[in-house]
Amino acid sequence: MLLYNLNKKGTLGTTLTWFVAFIIIFVLMFTFIMATGWLALKKIFMVGGGNDIDIQGNTIQPISFNNLNSILNSEDETGVTIKDRLYEWGYYVKKDENLKADEVKEIISRNVKSNMPDFTENDCYLFYAYYEGKSFTSIEVSNGKDINERFSTGQNNYLNKVIATYIYIGEDRIKIQSYGGDIDACY
């Protein structure tokens, strides 16, 4: 210990060492704190990763793709699927063959409705197909309403909650949506 007092250069060296160490430790700590803070904020879980995830709230699935897919793959009286009828309808719309388009639209509407469950207090379904880029070219079907009526703003608001699926007619596309859930959507 006596040597420390006698050797001023040694003391300076020790101070410098601590000073550098302090900076390094401070930088490391700061980085670590920032990283933990960032990780703590970013709450990501992997589906199927074995984590426990509690689910709260509404568990009714208004946007199940199975609903839409089962409607699209159902067949009409002649064995043609609704999906193929939609292609046909889209083709006539594209070619401005309105009479033929309306004929096909009626077949689609009738068959979509027949494939929807009966309207009850728990089952309200909407089906919507729209040829993008053309006015007044949509097919609107509900199990609670007459097929010839147009959807109200309220019903369109329900459809806006649903992810749209598309099929292509050349470069043009038909937007398709299917909603099932809230009873108010059928009024």
């Binding site: 990780l39 879980f45 709260q56 709230g57 208004p62 006539y92 470069e171």
Partner: protein, 282 residues
């Protein structure tokens, strides 16, 4: 300890700092890990985020199926109209003479179909999809499309303050099988086999029936064309009529209608796929 306190004040401050900072580091670490763990077992306030993920997965499968179907029909139409299935293509009166099937017709057909699939699937703008990573295999009328570890990310759920609290990343293994039989067409091998069975039948009505029986998805017609030495088609016969050459022309028309591309590849039309060829020179 006493000696250090008396003789090295600067060292003492540094040591105290290190001790406190270490304690702080441990504290923040514990807090950080606690927070992170809380994130994993957190409550998802809105299950629709999961529905959205699965919806997207099913939707992408649907788009892949549609793109395969579109690519298949376009390729089939191109082969049927241009006689691309015929080995050493020769025409007579603008009809293809169908003698031999191209030995690698399936491979070439599948390659073209894959190219068209890529064009079609691009239309859907599927998020994060790298078409180079899509693995397509075609075996006996079944198309298998695989996209391993395809990443689907949900939108973030935000709390009342607008801070993102939950985001879902899902590694989907998309493996979609599409059976081309649902398009109600026959492979070119089946058409060739039917041609080999039916070509030697002399009566046109019997020949027509033979094609119909062997190719259930097509309507068939068979016509005997006879020509004189000047190349004119003979429609009426008398004792002086001399037939210079004759052949039987077969017309196969799909029973189903499809939306098809016109010759330019742009104009669409709703119609049957038709194949016309000469099955036998007489």
């Amino acid at each position: 300890m006493r000696a250090i306190k008396l003789n090295d004040k600067r060292g003492d401050i540094a040591v105290v700092l290190v001790v406190f900072m270490t304690l702080l580091l441990i504290g923040v670490s514990l807090y950080g890990f606690n927070s992170l763990r809380k994130g994993i077992v957190d409550t998802v306030p809105n299950p629709n985020i999961l529905d959205g993920i699965y919806f997207s997965e099913d939707q992408y499968k649907f788009y892949i199926g549609e793109s395969v179907g579109r690519a298949y029909l376009d390729t089939y139409q191109e082969y049927a109209v241009n006689g691309n299935y015929i080995q050493n293509k020769v025409t007579k009166d603008s009809y293809f003479k169908f003698e031999t099937l191209k030995p690698d017709v399936n491979e070439r057909f599948n390659e073209l179909m894959k190219e068209k699939f890529v064009e079609e699937v691009k239309k859907y703008n599927i998020e994060n999809l790298n078409v180079d990573e899509v693995d397509i295999n075609v075996v006996e009328g079944n198309v298998n499309v695989q996209i391993p570890n395809y990443k689907i990310n949900s939108d973030s759920i935000q709390n009342d303050e607008g801070v993102s609290i939950v985001k879902v990343n899902y590694d989907a293994n998309i493996n979609e099988n599409i059976n081309l039989k649902k398009y109600s067409l026959h492979s070119f091998e089946e058409i060739y086999n039917a041609k080999e069975k039916c070509k030697d039948i002399a009566t046109m009505s019997d020949k027509k029936k033979c094609y119909k029986d062997n190719l259930k998805n097509f309507n068939a017609d068979a016509v005997l064309i006879r020509k004189d030495a000047n190349g004119n088609e003979i429609t009426a016969f008398d004792e002086n009529t001399v037939v210079a050459n004759a052949y039987s022309k077969v017309v196969l028309t799909s029973k189903n209608k499809y939306i098809l591309k016109g010759k330019e590849g742009r104009d669409l039309y709703l119609g049957n796929i038709q194949m016309i060829f000469i099955d036998k020179d007489i």
